[in-house]
C-alpha cells in the first residue's frame, strides 16, 4: 500500500514498526500537496519547513520511546480558524490576513503532544460563515471528487485535503454542520462532538454557544482515535466539560444488536434528493440486518431550527467579531479620520459580504426593542428543540438521517440566494442548538459520481454509541472512496 493511502492509525503503526519514517510520510504528503493544490486549493498556508523540522523531532521522540501513541508521527492539517503559534492564522479573512498567533489552541497542543506533524492551515468559509468554502477571502476550494463542485463548508479545505490525500487527517470546527456537511460532500468521516468536549481555547469564535472542534478523517477508527487525543477538560475554556468517558476507541465494536435507531420522518420530506434518501435508507436497512432495531418517528420542530440558528449564531457572531477593530491585531485601513472612522473602515474593508451580512443581522436582533422579539424568542425555541431531542433519546440510542438534502452543489450555485444556502443546513443545525454529538460517514455515491453522507446523532456524551454504530455500518458497507491519484 502506498503511504498516502494509509489511514492515520495505519501510518502511525507503520512508523512504530519502522516500515516508514516520519520524514518519508511527511515528504510524501508534501509532494502530494504540491501536485494537487493547483487543482483543489485545500490550504491557505502550507508550512513545509516547519513540518519537516517537526518530523525530525517527532521521529527522535518515537525512537527514544517518548512518543508511543496511536497518532505519533502522522501529518495533519488544521482549519485556519485554530490558532497555531508562529503560523499564519487567517480565518480565511482579509482582516486576519497577517495574523501570526503567539500561542496555539488547546486542541492543536493536544495533537502536538501526541506527536502530530502540522502540515498547514486549511481553507474555510470566512470566519466559518458559509456552507461551501466559497466565502473565503483567498479563493474557493474545489471538491476532489469533481472540481466543478464545492467541497462543502465551512471546513471545506479540511474535508477536501483528507479526500485528496493532502493530509492523513484534519481538524475542523462545526457551528451548524461545518464538519459533517463537508465530510459528506467529500466522502470522508467527520464528527462534531458534544458541546464542551474539545476545548475552544484558541479557536477563533463564531457562535460560541455552538462551536465545537472535531476530526475529519478517512475512517471510523481514525475518528475515535483522534477524539481520544483532542478531548480534554480545559480550565481556559469555561464551557469545557470534565468527562471520564473519553476512551472512544473502546467503542470500535462491530455489533449493533439491540441498538435502538430512530429515523425522523421529518428528515425525509420535501427537498430531500431521492438518491440521497435511497442511500441513507439502505444504510438503515444494513444496520437492521445486523440486529439494530430501526423505527421511524416524528422529531418535530425541524423547520424551526434554521431561523433559530441564524438568530443565535448571528447575534453571537456580531458580539464575537467586535474584537476586530484594527488596533490589537489584524488589518488596519490606510486612511482614516479619527478613531471611529478607523474602526468602521478597517472592519468594512477587512470583512467579506457574508460576514457583514451576519454581523448586521446579529446587531439588529440584539438591539434594544428587538432583543426580546428575536433573540430571546430564538433561545426559547432552542429550549423546545432540545426538549424534542430529549424525548427522542428517551426512546432511541441513535437518530439516523441524511447529512444534507443534496450532494455537493456546483461552484457558484449557492451564494446568490443566502436563504437557499441556509436551507442546506436543515439536518445538521439542530444538533448544534441542542449541543449533541453528530457523525457523518459516507454511505454511497449518486449518479453524478458525488458522495452521499449518512448522519448519526446521539444524546449528549453518547459519542461512543455513534462510533459503535458507524463502525458496524462501515464493516457492512465495505471499503469506500475514490482512488486519489497519488
Amino acid at each position: 500500500m502506498s503511504i498516502l493511502d494509509m489511514t492515520a492509525v495505519e501510518l502511525a503503526a507503520a512508523i512504530k514498526n519502522k516500515e516508514v519514517t516520519v520524514k518519508e510520510a511527511t515528504l510524501a504528503v508534501l509532494e502530494q500537496i504540491e501536485k494537487k493544490e493547483s487543482a483543489y486549493h485545500c490550504y491557505v498556508t502550507v508550512d513545509k519547513e516547519g513540518a519537516l523540522k517537526k518530523a525530525q523531532e517527532v521521529q527522535e521522540k518515537i525512537d527514544a520511546g517518548e512518543l508511543t501513541g496511536p497518532l505519533a508521527g502522522v501529518p495533519v492539517a488544521i482549519k485556519d480558524n485554530m490558532c497555531t503559534e508562529g503560523l499564519l492564522t487567517t480565518c480565511s479573512s482579509r482582516i486576519l490576513g497577517n495574523f501570526v498567533p503567539t500561542f496555539s489552541s488547546e486542541a492543536v497542543l493536544n495533537l502536538e503532544k501526541a506527536g502530530a506533524v502540522i502540515l498547514g492551515k486549511t481553507n474555510m468559509d470566512e470566519f466559518a460563515m458559509g456552507s461551501t468554502t466559497e466565502t473565503s477571502a483567498f479563493g474557493e476550494t474545489k471538491n476532489p471528487w469533481n472540481p466543478e463542485h464545492v467541497p462543502g463548508g465551512s471546513s471545506g479545505g479540511s474535508a477536501a485535503a483528507v479526500a485528496a490525500n493532502e493530509c492523513f487527517y484534519a481538524l475542523g470546527s462545526d457551528t451548524g454542520g461545518s464538519i459533517r456537511q463537508p465530510a459528506s460532500f467529500c466522502g470522508v468521516v467527520g464528527l462534531k462532538p458534544t458541546y464542551g468536549t474539545v476545548s475552544r481555547y484558541g479557536l477563533i469564535a463564531y457562535g460560541s454557544s455552538l462551536d465545537q472542534i472535531g476530526p475529519l478523517c478517512k475512517d471510523v477508527t481514525d475518528c475515535a482515535t483522534i477524539m481520544e487525543v483532542i478531548a480534554s477538560h480545559d480550565l481556559k475554556d469555561s464551557t469545557s466539560v470534565e468527562r471520564e468517558d473519553t476512551d472512544f476507541t473502546s467503542a470500535l465494536v462491530d455489533d449493533v444488536k439491540g441498538m435502538k435507531i430512530g429515523i425522523p420522518r421529518d428528515y425525509f420530506g420535501e427537498g430531500l434528493d431521492p438518491e440521497v434518501k435511497a442511500a441513507v435508507l439502505k444504510a438503515a436497512q444494513q444496520l437492521k440486518e445486523k440486529g439494530a432495531i430501526v423505527e421511524e418517528f416524528d422529531l418535530s420542530l425541524v423547520e424551526y431550527a434554521i431561523p433559530t440558528y441564524y438568530t443565535i449564531a448571528a447575534a453571537e457572531a456580531s458580539s464575537n467579531l467586535e474584537r476586530f477593530d484594527g488596533i490589537k491585531y489584524g488589518y488596519r485601513t490606510e486612511d482614516y479620520n479619527g478613531l471611529h472612522n478607523m474602526y468602521k473602515k478597517s472592519r468594512s474593508e477587512g470583512f467579506g459580504a457574508e460576514v457583514k451580512r451576519r454581523i448586521m443581522l446579529g446587531s439588529f436582533v440584539l438591539s434594544s426593542g428587538y432583543y426580546d422579539a428575536y433573540y430571546l424568542k430564538a433561545l426559547r425555541v432552542k429550549a423546545l428543540i432540545k426538549k424534542a431531542f430529549d424525548e427522542a433519546f428517551a426512546k432511541y440510542d441513535v437518530i439516523l438521517g441524511p447529512v444534507a438534502p443534496t450532494t455537493a452543489p456546483k461552484l457558484g450555485d449557492s451564494l446568490s440566494d443566502p436563504i437557499k444556502m441556509y436551507l442546506g443546513d436543515i439536518y445538521t443545525i439542530s444538533v448544534n442548538l441542542a449541543g449533541l454529538p453528530g457523525l457523518s460517514i459516507p454511505c454511497g455515491v449518486d449518479s453524478k459520481g458525488l458522495p452521499i453522507g449518512l448522519q448519526l446523532i446521539g444524546d449528549c456524551f453518547m459519542e461512543k454509541k455513534l462510533i459503535q454504530t458507524a463502525y458496524a455500518y462501515e464493516k457492512a458497507r465495505g471499503a469506500f472512496g475514490r482512488k486519489e491519484e497519488n
Binding site: 466539560v241 431561523p307 451580512r357 428575536y374
Partner: protein, 97 residues
C-alpha cells in the same frame, strides 16, 4: 416582503455593527435583512409562553478560581500583531482634541 427595513434602520445598525456600507451594500443589506427577518418571523408560529430562554444546553455554573496571577509579563507577545505600536503600547488615532 413583510419586513421593510428603512434607511434609518440600516444607518442605526451600521453604527452598532461599526460597519460603513457603500450605497450599494446598504440597498443589498436592506433586502437581505428584510428577507432574513421574514424567515425568522416563522418562530412566531410557536407558543413559547412560559418557556425559559436557553442560553446553555447543560446546567453550567460560573467557573471560579483563586485570584492569583499565573501569567507573566507578556507585553512583547501581545504587541507582536499590533498594526502600530510605540514604546510598548498600541498606537490609536487621536481620541480627544
Amino acid at each position: 416582503m413583510a419586513n421593510i427595513i428603512t434607511d434609518e434602520t440600516i444607518e442605526y445598525v451600521g453604527i452598532l455593527a461599526k460597519l460603513e456600507l457603500s450605497e450599494e451594500e446598504k440597498e443589498q443589506a436592506k433586502k437581505d435583512m428584510g428577507s432574513m427577518l421574514d424567515y425568522i418571523d416563522k418562530l412566531g408560529e410557536l407558543d413559547t409562553a412560559g418557556v425559559e430562554p436557553m442560553s446553555h444546553v447543560f446546567p453550567v455554573n460560573n467557573v471560579f478560581r483563586e485570584d492569583v496571577v499565573t501569567n507573566g509579563d507578556d507585553r512583547e507577545n501581545i504587541l507582536k500583531n499590533a498594526p502600530e505600536e510605540k514604546d510598548g503600547m498600541f498606537v490609536v488615532p487621536r481620541t480627544f482634541d
